[in-house]
């Protein structure tokens, strides 16, 4: 290896370390400042809590409030709603793609439903489904399904005309064209729709838990608000941020695998 190449690789590594260092530094400074300002009373510790209080609250929650059950419930709702949303979205997008006539017919309804703030349906869902996990999942599904359908369907539509011609010259059947061309060609959009679906699912689940649930992080936040313990509210938010970060990370790993060569 030439000295220049060595230097180049070294620089590359150095940049990577710098980025990680700064990321950690930002977190430490943020938490430190937060702790300091609330400790000094410059901002109200009652409203904004503080890192140390959040930490002790989480320990406390684990002991007294079955904290892990709340996490488990929320995670379960998110995962079920996410996979349902993505797979139903995929199937419906496929049906619309294969049956363009139907797609044309229901287009205005899709648009209308897409722009409707689905939260408005919340009260309806509670009365119809009751205060349980199913209602929360239904709420999330209402929010994430439409966006999954629309993005995946548009991904299918983006297939290259020229590749279609190639498949025609090879006398491919409709199913083969779908399996070897249309679907693999949409990997990029499918990944995008996974990301969109995940964020929409989190919104839906939280919304659902706010409205109906007796368990879950959303419930914990509402509970914290009701008893004026904002440490609980903050702890809920922090855990939620962690969960969404980890789930998002899974999707990026999948993305790297799937799109390696494209």
């Amino acid at each position: 290896m030439s000295p220049e190449q060595k230097k180049f690789l070294k620089n590359l590594k150095l940049t990577k370390y710098k980025v990680i260092f700064l990321q950690i530094a930002i977190l430490v400074i943020f938490l430190g400042l937060w702790e300091f300002l609330t400790f000094k009373g410059i901002i109200s510790p009652f409203i904004y809590s503080s890192p140390s209080k959040i930490f002790s609250t989480i320990i406390d929650l684990i002991h007294s409030h079955n904290f892990f059950i709340h996490i488990y419930i929320t995670l379960k709702e998110v995962l079920i709603a996410f996979f349902l949303g993505i797979s139903l979205g995929f199937i419906i997008a496929l049906i619309l793609y294969e049956w363009k006539f139907l797609a044309k017919v229901i287009d205005p309804y899709l648009t209308m439903f897409n722009s409707l703030p689905k939260v408005a349906l919340g009260p309806l869902i509670i009365i119809a489904g009751g205060a349980n996990i199913k209602s929360v999942i239904l709420m999330a599904l209402l929010i994430n399904l439409i966006i999954s359908i629309i993005t995946i369907y548009n991904g299918f539509l983006c297939t290259d005309e020229y590749c279609f011609k190639l498949f025609k010259t090879l006398h491919a059947t409709k199913l083969q064209t779908l399996l070897y061309l249309v679907i693999p060609n949409s990997y990029q959009t499918i990944i995008t729709s996974l990301k969109l679906c995940l964020s929409q699912t989190l919104v839906g689940v939280l919304m659902g838990e706010f409205l109906v649930s007796k368990q879950g992080i959303g419930y914990l936040i509402v509970y914290g608000k009701q008893v004026f313990n904002l440490n609980i509210v903050m702890s809920g938010i922090i855990i939620l941020a962690l969960i969404s970060y980890i789930l998002y990370k899974f999707i990026t790993i999948l993305e790297k695998k799937l799109l390696k060569h494209i």
Binding site: C163, T169, L170, H171
Partner: protein
């Protein structure tokens, strides 16, 4: 004499919202086994339409095509390799789609990879290849189906000058060696001359045959030799006049 394929009175109209477009009018052509015919004509005159009809991809036309279970393969202007498949997977796509992944056919694919020095790239992905190499993969994909009749729709026109010569030599050699019958569509007059035994010159849309010219070269071993033929310029001039660039 026995014809491999006879094309009689092909007429084709496209129907669009804007109205009817007449693409081809009364096209006739007979091909014997091993013959190479070029079709030249201005762009948009209906050449691709004609190939689609011959390839049986389009059955909406008037006229008659007589052939007996010919295996027809079609090579397009762009390689259209699928980015998410390896070079090798792309090369055998035609066989896979047609359920012909037999030992014998795969051995033939290996032979072609050898022939074109592409062995080292088998497990690479298309984005790492040059335009010429991509078109070679497309050629392997087309040839792997062992066609009786090979349809080439401007397969060299997207390539740079050097790759164009190399790839057309590859194609010329293999169709001569395997005695494949071929129809080459091109708007490049020289390419048509050094490639073919017969050139059909088409008019502007709707494509009508303006002239059919037989090409006889002394040395047929390669397109390089054919380019040196003393009659090359004479053929060129004839076709140039037939194409009539100034025709309004």
């Amino acid at each position: 004499m026995n014809n491999l394929i006879e094309i009689h009175n092909i007429t084709k109209n496209y129907h669009t919202k804007e109205g009817e477009i007449s693409a081809i009018k009364d096209f006739n052509l007979n091909l014997k086994k091993g013959e190479i015919v070029s079709i030249v004509g201005p762009s948009g005159c209906g050449k691709s339409t004609l190939l689609s009809i011959i390839a049986n991809l389009d059955s909406d036309y008037q006229g008659e095509i007589i052939q007996h279970n010919l295996k027809i393969a079609y090579m397009l202007q762009n390689a259209a390799l699928l980015p998410y498949l390896t070079i090798y997977e792309n090369a055998i796509l035609g066989l896979k789609i047609n359920h012909q992944l037999t030992k014998e056919n795969l051995a033939y694919v290996d032979y072609l990879f050898d022939l074109y020095n592409l062995n080292d790239f088998k497990n690479n992905y298309p984005k790492s290849l040059s335009g010429g190499m991509k078109q070679r993969i497309a050629l392997i994909r087309t040839l792997s189906l062992k066609p009786d009749l090979l349809l080439l729709d401007e397969p060299f026109s997207a390539l740079d000058e050097q790759s164009k010569l190399i790839i057309s030599e590859d194609v010329y050699k293999i169709i001569k060696e395997k005695n494949i019958t071929a129809i080459l569509v091109t708007h490049n007059i020289e390419e048509a001359i050094y490639f073919s035994d017969k050139i059909v010159v088409l008019s502007k849309r709707p494509a009508i045959i303006k002239n059919i010219i037989s090409i006889n070269c002394e040395n047929n071993t390669s397109i390089y030799e054919r380019r040196k033929d003393p009659n090359f310029h004479k053929y060129f001039d004839t076709i140039w006049k037939d194409l009539d660039i100034n025709e309004s």
